[in-house]
């Protein structure tokens, strides 16, 4: 896949005297020329507000914005563009489901079931829902390797379970969770499933009809798109029955002095001037990813994880977290007693960008019994030689701290 590196201008630079190796795509991905240019072209040739102006630019912008929606629909195989809501990202999408759907539909005695590995954005909204509605927040039990035992998971879903919320891919463990099976089980009990797809949509083919999920949220910036744009998919019937949580322009049909009603889907959930340039950039990102092929990207990213785990496993003092197989996107680890921040600083001096900290997963850190970890995450522009550089960097860090600790 090394032919794609040249599509990403940012990667062609030196950091601290070394060629940049970007291993933090789990936090945000880099952007190819195609996406940068799409945003630029939008601003240079069609910028105006959407769904308003009668003028030519207005319809160009509207076409570009709605065209991006259709691209996203096709990309995740949603049944209709009515089911594709543009917003700021995964966090915003999950909060919409929590603040609208869950607050309206959950009550005391109901249960919300999530995993201890959830990102704060798929955890705190449910804590809040539980507080407001009186529903109980419960957790799946994770196996020691950070996976779900299918039998236990199935048994955890009961008649009380009104909502299951889970990441398809954990942003720390890399675990690919069996969301399709979970969807089947929760539906059999009459509940809904909300999927945090922030780390899955960038790396694998996601088909919302095949998964039969009720809601699915992801962020453009992790899939080579711009920051500030994200998507919430929801089943049409559910979205139709939900109330908006943001009111104002763009989302109304008729407005009276004391009462108003809403536009149809998806616009009723897109109050205010939308993220037009972001959506256009996201459309270009989808085109770019499809031109390579999601299956190709999936195989590549899984291969890099396997390769990294193998190479890093050869180093003494490296502990890695999460399952050995069925994982993608990243390797989370610690090196001896070197604190991850110190490690990240040493690697940064080598031009290698990794993430260090709790990765917005404080409960998971407690479950792992660590206070912080280092994470190297991979994408289509990374290759084995990046991992070789990482391993060399880790060796250097070991040596360096071996000396200063003496």
């Amino acid at each position: 896949m090394s032919q794609y590196i040249k599509d990403f201008p940012i990667l062609d630079q030196q950091v601290n005297g070394n060629p940049l190796i970007y291993l933090d795509s789990g936090a945000t991905s880099q952007k190819p020329f195609k996406v940068i240019e799409a945003v630029e072209t939008y601003y240079k040739t069609m910028n105006s507000n959407v769904h308003r102006g009668v003028h030519t630019l207005g319809s160009r912008a509207t076409d570009a914005y709605e065209g991006a929606r259709e691209k996203v629909r096709r990309f995740i195989n949603a049944g209709s563009t009515q089911e594709i809501i543009f917003n700021r990202g995964t966090t915003t999408g999950l909060n919409l489901v929590a603040s609208s759907y869950a607050r309206e539909n959950l009550k005391e005695g109901d249960e919300i079931l999530i995993s201890p590995s959830e990102h704060h954005s798929n955890l705190i909204p449910w804590q809040q829902v539980a507080k407001v509605t009186g529903a109980t927040l419960k957790y799946f039990e994770l196996e020691p390797d950070g996976t779900l035992d299918l039998n236990k998971a199935k048994a955890a879903i009961t008649d009380r379970t009104k909502l299951v919320a889970i990441a398809q891919v954990s942003n720390v463990l890399g675990t690919v969770f069996p969301v399709k099976e979970l969807a089947g089980w929760v539906h059999a009990k009459g509940g809904v499933i909300v999927i945090d797809a922030a780390q899955s949509v960038p790396h694998m083919k996601v088909d919302v009809q095949d998964l039969d999920c009720d809601f699915l949220a992801f962020s453009g910036h992790k899939m080579v798109g711009p920051t500030g744009i994200g998507v919430l998919y929801g089943k049409e019937a559910l979205l139709n029955a939900m109330e908006p949580i943001e009111f104002g322009g763009e989302m109304i049909s008729t407005v009276g002095l004391y009462d108003s009603d809403w536009k149809e889907l998806p616009w009723k959930f897109e109050g205010g001037t939308p993220i037009i340039a972001g959506a256009v950039g996201l459309g270009a990102a989808v085109d770019y990813l499809e031109s390579i092929g999601m299956d190709t990207i999936d195989a590549h990213d899984r291969h890099l994880v396997a390769y990294a785990m193998e190479r890093m496993g050869e180093l003494e003092g490296v502990s890695m977290y999460g399952p050995r197989k069925d994982r993608t996107g990243m390797v989370t680890f610690n090196l001896d007693t070197v604190h991850p921040h110190d490690l990240a600083t040493v690697l940064d001096a080598e031009g290698i960008a990794i993430r260090a900290g709790h990765h917005c997963c404080q409960p998971l850190m407690r479950w792992l019994e660590v206070t912080a970890t280092a994470r190297a995450s991979f994408y289509l522009y990374n290759n084995e030689s990046d991992i070789d550089r990482l391993v060399a960097g880790l060796k250097k860090a070991k040596e360096y701290f071996g000396n200063v600790f003496r």
């Binding site: 604190h339 921040h341 110190d342 206070t371 200063v404």
Partner: protein, 143 residues
């Protein structure tokens, strides 16, 4: 950028053998602070009598810079009056911004080793965490 500017021997010494780590039995003030972006956590305890910081200790989890800085901070402020301590917090944060510090005004001693942190912007917050806790505690003691 040289790592040796950051990881000075004194820093690693404080990291590995922290001074004043633990709890004060009759600690009158405890301030817990964390750095939510990275997970570093520090708890600073101090006993203040007649405006003097008689005792200062810390506990916490974090990187070498945050823990070494906490250790040095407790050494520095013991015996100082509260106002002086707050003033030193200000000097320290200015030093972290890369300002030269008048050492007549602030005898740095071990803290001098932290000067290199200024060259690593991502790590400044690590170094200032315990000092922020001190400042908060000192101000509380005045109430």
């Amino acid at each position: 950028m040289s790592l040796d500017d950051l990881y000075r021997r004194v820093i690693m010494d404080h990291y590995q053998q922290p001074r004043n780590r633990g709890q004060i039995e009759d600690g009158s003030i405890t301030v817990d602070l964390n750095n939510p972006t990275c997970g570093d956590r520090v708890s600073v305890q101090m006993r203040v009598k007649n405006g003097i910081i008689e005792e200062a200790m810390f506990e916490g989890e974090g990187c070498s810079i945050s823990m070494a800085s906490a250790s040095m901070m407790t050494e520095t402020v013991k015996g100082l009056d509260v106002e002086r301590a707050v003033y030193l917090v200000d000097l320290f944060s200015r030093m972290m911004q890369g300002e030269e510090i008048d050492t007549e005004e602030f005898p740095l001693e071990d803290i001098e080793a932290l000067q290199g942190v200024a060259k690593f912007p991502a790590r400044i917050k690590c170094a200032t965490l315990a000092w922020k806790a001190l400042e908060k505690g000192a101000k509380e003691s005045a109430n």
